[in-house]
């Protein structure tokens, strides 16, 4: 169904293509006549996006070209108005960050990639594994399904605290109690730089698997069982059936959940912020949490945070564009 308001008489949905060529003013008017209500319907969203996203975005980009900090941003305290004194510094911020002079960018970037890749990898493989198991006929299937989804129902900040308690050092941390009973030494889960990373990945994997599992289970159920029957008739082994029937059948769902999962994980804030604590060193910070730390801790470095924000956004845009292109190309060659 499209904008063809004249009804079925003029050829239905694709009437735009069949129109005779006319002059520009007429076309503009016609376009307005046909589309004004569509535009009216999207207008509120466009306005909201413009004011709440567009303006802050532009201002964020602008700030990334300045040396704004908490000290020079300009404020009103009671009666006194302190004017803003920050100034335009061109691409200095970007140069500092990207040339490695600021020193924190490349280690953070590398860890962010590792964090995103490992989390999405585990989310997807564990989720797919469980989905395949749950897609079989068996007893208690719905019980398993409901219980396995539970972590999704826990808000991320609650999960972060629950895990932090289990990671605790001293007598109260469950993991170290268990390690002690097994005769192994205690591990400084939340203090040691390497263990911090292992801990946050564990929490995030626990939290993210149910979504993947449910999404992929939905995808599995939409694959026609006739395909499996046909493959079996042709003598395909279980692995071949998985490889050539299941995986291609899951492609539309997989591509969406991997795209979403990557973006979500890349920007994941509460886990690292709450599990390790706001005063964690720079080691465990991914780009998103590091930018936040710049913006709101110590002397607030607004320009630095904005610079990181712009860099993160550009990276995600490049990723999404390539990802879409790749999918389209695959689609075309099929």
């Amino acid at each position: 169904m499209t904008t063809a308001t004249a009804g079925p008489a003029d050829g239905g949905p694709k009437s735009e293509d069949g129109r005779p060529r006319v002059g520009l003013p007429t076309r503009v008017k016609r376009s307005w006549d046909t589309h004004w209500y569509a535009w009216a319907m999207v207008l509120p969203v466009v306005l909201v996006l413009g004011v709440l996203v567009g303006y802050p975005l532009l201002r964020g980009v602008y700030l990334s070209f300045t040396d704004a900090t908490e000290a020079n941003i300009g404020r009103t305290i009671g009666e006194n108005h302190i004017p803003a004194t920050y100034k335009f510094v061109g691409v200095d911020n970007f140069w500092n960050v990207l040339s490695g002079k600021e020193g924190n960018f490349y280690p953070r970037l590398w860890w962010t990639f590792l964090w995103t890749a490992s989390c999405v990898f585990f989310h997807y493989t564990v989720g797919l594994g469980l989905a395949v198991l749950l897609n079989r006929k068996m007893r208690f299937r719905s019980v398993y399904r409901v219980l396995l989804i539970l972590p999704w129902a826990v808000p991320a900040f609650v999960a972060a605290f629950a895990w932090r308690l289990m990671f605790n050092t001293g007598d109260s941390g469950l993991f170290n109690i268990v390690l002690g009973k097994l005769g192994l030494g205690a591990v400084d889960w939340l203090g040691d730089p390497l263990m911090q990373k292992v801990s946050v990945v564990m929490v995030n994997v626990w939290l993210g698997v149910p979504f993947m599992m449910v999404a992929l289970l939905g995808g599995l159920q939409s694959i026609s069982s006739e395909l499996y029957e046909a493959a079996e008739m042709d003598g395909a082994s279980p692995w071949q059936r998985f490889r050539h029937v299941t995986l291609p059948g899951l492609r539309p769902v997989s591509s969406t959940v991997i795209l979403l999962g990557t973006i979500w994980t890349f920007n994941m804030f509460p886990i690292i912020y709450l599990v390790i604590g706001p005063n964690a060193g720079a080691d465990v910070q991914i780009l998103a949490t590091y930018a936040y730390q710049l913006a709101f801790q110590g002397v607030r470095d607004y320009a630095g945070a904005a610079t990181y924000g712009v860099i993160i956004l550009s990276m995600l845009l490049v990723f999404a564009t390539f990802y879409r292109r790749m999918l389209n190309r695959q689609e075309a060659t099929r």
């Binding site: 904008t3 308001t5 009804g7 589309h35 209500y37 569509a38 535009w39 319907m41 999207v42 509120p44 969203v45 909201v48 996006l49 996203v53 802050p56 975005l57 201002r59 964020g60 700030l63 469980l130 198991l133 006929k137 068996m138 398993y144 409901v146 539970l150 972590p151 129902a153 826990v154 991320a156 900040f157 605290f161 629950a162 895990w163 308690l165 289990m166 109260s172 626990w206 449910v214 939905g218 499996y228 029957e229 079996e232 591509s255 979403l260 920007n267 804030f269 509460p270 912020y273 706001p278 998103a288 930018a291 936040y292 945070a305 904005a306 924000g309 993160i312 956004l313 995600l316 845009l317």
Partner: protein
């Protein structure tokens, strides 16, 4: 695996193939006892991992006083004193109310504004259609970092820091595009013939949307609303900076104050966590099936 629908010819062929391997013929989709045990063991292990942190949370919440400091020592008994303390002596009920108010406000605004746009993008082909869809997708990629600084400065200029309205506005920046994306996905699943029928019966495009589509889209609206509620409910970064006085905290901010630097009341914190998780968990059960389909359908057809 539809074992019952196997036609006889297949069964014969299949069993012929199967007899070479096993004496007793298994039907399609049937497992041996070993495979069954393996399947159940794997799923049981996964279930234990999935449930354990939640069970542990509830267990610690039930241990009174400083019971959390030595969790395996059960001499203190179990009781509800942590819950009692959290509900009566802390600001927890206020924070709960704040969270409901802010998440609810965000949801109502998000859904109301975006439903029309979702419909227009799903059904009407107009210049700007694809660009908008693309914008919705990109907005969801925005790292908090790029918006939060500018938003903080703007809101403090407008004196909206530490107000409900300020945080709701900040949340709408992600809720509105998200809701529009979800609603578009839902409208895509409603057959276009229904619109056509409405048009033929003389409804305007607005009438079709309001009188035909909105009632039909109620499940989609509910799912969208629920999802944007959950997102706002669990948000940490904006709330931690924008809400500064204790009476304005949302739950995500308030809980952090239970484990501040010189104080760690894990028993209270876990009791509060249980109180947050239980209602969310109940609603979640009923909604979860629809949540995923809504989210992924917007993507696959975008």
């Amino acid at each position: 695996m539809a074992a019952d629908t196997t036609v006889p010819a297949t069964a014969v062929q299949h069993s012929a193939a199967g007899q070479r391997r096993a004496v007793r013929v298994r039907r399609r989709g049937e497992r041996g006892p070993g495979a069954s045990a393996g399947l159940h063991l794997t799923l049981l292990a996964a279930t234990v991992i999935a449930l354990f942190p939640i069970v542990w949370m509830a267990f610690i919440a039930l241990k009174p006083g400083n019971g959390w400091q030595d969790p395996l020592d059960l001499s203190g008994g179990l009781g509800l004193s942590n819950f009692d303390h959290v509900l009566t002596d802390t600001e927890f009920p206020t924070w709960f109310g704040n969270s409901v108010l802010i998440a609810g406000g965000t949801t109502v605004i998000g859904v109301l504004i975006s439903a029309g746009a979702g419909y227009a993008i799903s059904r009407l082909r107009f210049p700007g259609n694809r660009a908008l869809m693309w914008t919705f997708l990109i907005t969801q990629m925005f790292p908090g970092a790029v918006l939060i600084v500018a938003m903080y400065n703007i809101l403090s200029t407008l004196k909206l820091i530490d107000t409900y309205g300020g945080l709701i506005l900040a949340y709408c920046s992600s809720a509105v595009p998200f809701c529009a994306w979800m609603m578009k996905g839902y409208f895509d699943t409603i057959p276009g013939e229904i619109d056509e029928a409405g048009r033929i019966d003389g409804l305007t495009p607005f009438g079709t949307f309001w009188r035909l589509m909105m009632p039909l889209a109620r499940p989609g609206l509910a799912v969208t609303a629920f999802y944007s509620f959950l997102t706002a409910w669990g948000e940490v970064a904006f709330a931690s900076q924008f809400m500064q006085s204790e009476s304005k905290y949302t739950l995500a901010v308030g809980l952090q104050s239970f484990v501040a630097e010189h104080r760690a009341d894990w028993g209270f914190l876990m009791a509060a966590s249980v109180l947050i998780t239980v209602p969310a968990g109940f609603v979640f059960f009923f909604a979860q099936k629809h949540l995923v389909s809504g989210l992924t359908s917007g993507g696959t057809k975008g």
